[in-house]
């Protein structure tokens, strides 16, 4: 079964067309990357799939559940990490994980989820401190823990390593990879071409709301006779 199936998706904000008829698929156990400059429509596409925005036209299905009709079912199997996400500042890191886990399962599942969240976040004793006292990197690790602890069938990650230093970014990428090994499908967006090459099985290059090219990193480099994805992207949008 396809994890995500997007067909001719159009999304308008008033008179502005943010997404202009894009189509792509994400397979189970695959990391699929949407790459493009600011304002290309990456976040809008992710928000539509995450049930946050309405569809202007076209169709989106997540593991066979159609949006927006079956949004409630989709929310049970996805986990979304926004680019600039935050956590409730008056809660401790552990309380925040508890709060989220309560939406997903019974007592036994809940305990396992929180345990997994604690391991992924790996904040040590600081997990018992208020989120308000966390650095940006610590908050992001907590949020990645939150996103992946619930064992989603699809993780939607918008710029997962945004604002993180090299070490923290590397740790987050390691966590994502281990989740994929456990069977999670990942749809992510990124500006970071190196990250995309390291993480993604397949990539779609998006510009001005349209997908201009898609394939594996190797296929794209070959198609555009480029040394890296960045070069391939520049050639693709020209």
């Amino acid at each position: 079964m396809k994890a995500v199936e997007v067909r001719e998706l159009v999304k308008d904000y008033g008179n502005f067309r943010a997404i202009n008829g894009i189509s792509f698929e994400v397979k189970e156990g695959e990391v699929f990357g949407l790459i493009g400059p600011n304002g290309a429509g990456k976040t809008t596409a992710l928000r539509v799939i995450a049930t946050l925005l309405q569809i202007t036209s076209g169709s989106v299905a997540v593991f066979g559940y159609e949006l927006p009709k079956e949004a409630g079912e989709v929310r049970k199997i996805i986990s979304y990490l926004p680019e600039e996400a935050g956590a409730y500042k008056n809660l401790t890191g552990k309380d925040y994980l508890n709060f989220i886990a309560k939406f997903f399962g019974d007592r036994e599942k809940f305990q396992n989820m929180v345990q997994r969240g604690l391991e992924i976040a790996n904040l040590g004793e600081r997990i018992n401190d208020k989120v308000d006292t966390y650095s940006k990197g610590m908050t992001r690790r907590l949020l990645v823990g939150r996103a992946l602890m619930v064992n989603p069938r699809l993780a939607i990650l918008d710029e997962p390593t945004s604002g993180l230093d090299v070490l923290n970014a590397q740790e987050v990428r390691r966590i994502i990879n281990s989740s994929v090994e456990a069977g999670v499908a990942v749809l992510l967006s990124s500006h970071n071409m190196l990250e995309v090459e390291l993480l993604c099985h397949r990539i779609a290059l998006i510009n001005d709301g349209k997908i201009v090219a898609s394939g594996t990193a190797e296929e794209l480099k070959k198609e555009y006779d480029a040394g890296n994805i960045e070069e391939a992207f520049v050639k693709a949008i020209k």
């Binding site: 904000y13 928000r47 995450a50 925005l53 309405q54 202007t56 929310r75 926004p82 409730y88």
Partner: protein, 422 residues
């Protein structure tokens, strides 16, 4: 340099969104003031009364002369029943009856009795102005009689000369006859409810409302809203959860406020009259209705706040969004404090009824007068208002507005209901 900063600040703060509520409130307050009327003018107006002279003696003649000169007498006869009916029909303030032997008693060094039957229309602070003027008339009658006593003979008891009359009074208010109380006394007793309850309700609404609007602002500012909206929980549950959570916080804050405020108000209380002695006590059922009225009004206010909260961009903008709620609550407070629901013009009555917060403010007074239809009608209206606001809030939560500030149109009531179920 400084001019540039002032210009930037002015441009940032002086926007249509902040201007419109102020203009609306200014217009509404102007309208309220105009409709309630000018206190000074009403103090100068002659009160409408009826008089019955059953004595026809020297002192009753003085009393009648003073009353006829200083009041608009719409009944001057000998039948108290008939007079009372006439005063009621003509919207008068009171019927004053001078009984037989009035003058004889005074000549015998006893105070003469004046029977006063007050027709009380409302228990608001402004409703007792006319009765205050009549109280002044009684003083004038006393002065007239005192003067006559001093001129006639010096053998009268000085205490009698100073206070030649005593009053026997009863007040008719909303179908009840309350013996032994003047409308001013009754008004004073009810005024504690007129002030304390509306202010406490207003504080409760504002504090709980600020919590829910701020919560929306913080969700956006802290970037937690997107995550919340992708969790497997119904939008209606998010909305209701926010409302109930904020209601609890608001009630705790209002309770703390109420303790301080009630102690403050107690220091002004001069009446030691027990309302229960006059059949004005509330039953357990009444208190339950007041509780339900307060709870539904709180939910209605919070449901309205959550709709307003969806417009908040951040915590700061959320603070300004509480203003319309404060203004609505203040309108309810001022109107219910100064006027009784039954004595305000129809336009204001509709306005007061339409503002859900007014109902708990009016509930206690209405229940004392057995006006159950107003209280139960208010609860029913407030409940419907709450449901409509929650449905609107859920609809907004299902739209793009929360994240983008615009709405993807769906159209149709069916879609509205569908949105609520999601």
């Amino acid at each position: 340099m400084i001019g540039n900063i002032i210009k930037k600040e002015f441009k940032e703060l002086f926007v249509l969104a902040t201007l419109i509520p102020i203009v609306v409130i200014a217009i509404v307050f102007g309208l309220v003031g105009q409709t309630i009327g000018n206190v000074g003018e009403r103090m100068e107006e002659k009160p409408v009364i009826g008089i019955v002279d059953m004595d026809d003696g020297d002192f009753s003649d003085i009393a009648m002369a003073v009353l006829t000169e200083k009041a608009e007498v719409i009944y001057d006869g000998s039948d108290a029943e008939e007079g009372l009916e006439e005063v009621r029909e003509e919207n008068g303030v009171a019927l004053l009856v001078v009984p037989e032997n009035f003058s004889q008693n005074i000549y015998a060094n006893h105070q003469g009795e004046i029977e006063i039957y007050w027709i009380m229309k409302g228990a608001g602070l402004m409703d007792s102005i006319s009765s205050g003027v009549v109280e002044g008339l009684i003083q004038a009658v006393n002065q007239g009689i005192s003067t006559k006593l001093i001129q006639q003979d010096s053998s009268f008891d000085p205490a009698l000369v100073l206070n030649p009359t005593k009053r026997v009074e009863a007040t008719f208010f909303k179908g009840k006859e309350i013996e032994g109380l003047s409308s001013s006394q009754l008004g004073n007793m009810l005024s504690s409810q007129s002030i304390v309850i509306p202010i406490v309700v207003m504080m409760l609404i504002i504090m709980a409302g600020a919590s829910v609007i701020s919560s929306m602002g913080m969700e956006k500012e802290n970037k937690t809203l997107e995550t919340l909206l992708t969790l497997p929980v119904r939008r209606s549950h998010i909305v209701i959860g926010k409302i109930v959570g904020s209601a609890l916080v608001g009630m705790i804050m209002a309770a703390i406020y109420m303790i301080g405020f009630s102690r403050y108000m107690t220091s002004f209380q001069i009446s030691d009259i027990n309302l229960a002695d006059f059949g004005l006590a509330l039953s357990m059922q009444d208190y339950l209705l007041i509780g339900v009225s307060l709870f539904t009004a709180l939910l209605a206010g919070l449901a309205l706040c959550i709709v307003l909260g969806t417009f908040a961009k951040n915590y700061r903008s959320a603070q300004t969004l509480i203003f319309p709620i404060t203004a609505l609550a203040m309108i309810s407070v001022f109107i219910t404090m100064f006027k009784d629901f039954d004595t305000i013009p129809a336009v204001l009555r509709i306005l007061v009824f339409a503002i859900p917060f007014s109902h708990p403010m009016m509930a206690m007074r209405a229940l004392m007068m057995d006006n159950y239809s107003l209280v139960i009608g208010g609860i029913a209206y407030t409940a419907v208002f709450t449901v409509i606001m929650i449905v609107i809030a859920v609809r907004i939560f299902n739209s793009d507005r929360l994240l983008t500030g615009s709405v993807q149109k769906r159209g149709g009531l069916g879609k509205l209901v569908w949105g609520f179920r999601r």
